[in-house]
Symmetry: C2
Subunit: 192 residues, 2 copies
């Protein structure tokens, strides 16, 4: 998706530790018009797949997921929570995830009331790198008996293994910008 690549080229900053900062438009300040274009593109790619629910994970996936849902007939969006809280009662699906960004392990949780065999799920997230968060969401979808249509990702770090591993599992992954290499000096190189 050329518009997204342009924004990454113009505003993205490569930092030490393989961090690509896109906080001016994607995951701290959010460009709602860009999110609309992202949602439209996910619709184009997953058109006719019968998506009736969108699953994401807090926090930075939520904005893209909500705007994208408008292009899927206002499908409800469920966001997985990263910590057990008082506000989730009853039974939940859980999966253990290791966060690259935060350097810690946490449980991902979705209430069983909101995922089931009648659901055709599109997973939406802002980043795919080592794939741990996405793997956790896939595990939860499978445990619920829902059908997994695929995963729509804004930015994939193609030089990390997540995308490869998850596609090998037979999951359809559509990433709008795949970064094949990046460095503080040379900037970002996209896959064609």
């Amino acid at each position: 998706m050329e518009l997204l690549k342009q924004r990454i080229r113009n505003e993205g900053r490569v930092m030490a530790g393989n961090v690509l900062k896109v906080d001016s438009f994607l995951n701290h300040q959010m460009d709602i018009r860009l999110f609309g274009e992202i949602g439209r593109e996910f619709r184009r790619r997953f058109d006719g797949c019968g998506v009736n629910k969108i699953l994401t994970i807090e926090a930075s996936g939520i904005g893209i997921a909500c705007i994208t849902a408008q292009y899927f007939d206002d499908a409800p969006v469920v966001f997985a929570k990263k910590n057990p809280t008082k506000n989730i009662a009853g039974e939940v699906y859980t999966s253990r995830v290791e966060s690259y960004t935060h350097g810690r392990v946490y449980d991902v949780i979705v209430s069983k009331r909101f995922l089931g065999p009648q659901d055709r799920i599109l997973i939406i997230d802002d980043f795919l790198a080592n794939g741990c968060a996405l793997m956790g969401l896939i595990e939860i979808v499978r445990a619920s008996g829902a059908s997994l249509v695929g995963a729509g990702i804004a930015i994939e770090k193609g030089f990390q293994e997540g995308g490869h591993l998850i596609r090998q599992m037979g999951v359809r992954v559509e990433s709008l910008a795949i970064v094949d290499a990046m460095s503080e000096e040379g900037g970002v190189v996209f896959r064609d």
Copy 2:
């Protein structure tokens, strides 16, 4: 807002510890069509106020804030983060907040790059109870030199002190449903 009150009456569950669970449509599963109506109502109430940026806090405020932004000419949305992460570099505004839901204290953080004197801020959040989170966001807006237009809240617990305290500070607070009393037996009583 009658539509929101109906949903709270029909689907809300009052739990021990003054918890009002609305996780089927507001803060775990999210009803995107309802969010559209909420956004439209916030626009009606803050029309002509020159809002050019929306500020919210992770995680459950993000969805409402992003959909609402579409009714304010796609104003950018900034979400405050609850934990310092590797992905926020440089200078930040911080404020200390005590979470009623999670029973802990955390820092709320917004990058200085995304708030400044040119901004006219509408704060959006899903809940207002003791007001600590909102107070933290107000403190950050004031520190940045931005103008605070007001706060748009989906559900206010009117029997807790937050709304009163913050209105006393001279901040305009618009809550779409104000709960004046609730109990596990008697359900929810709304302010007129």
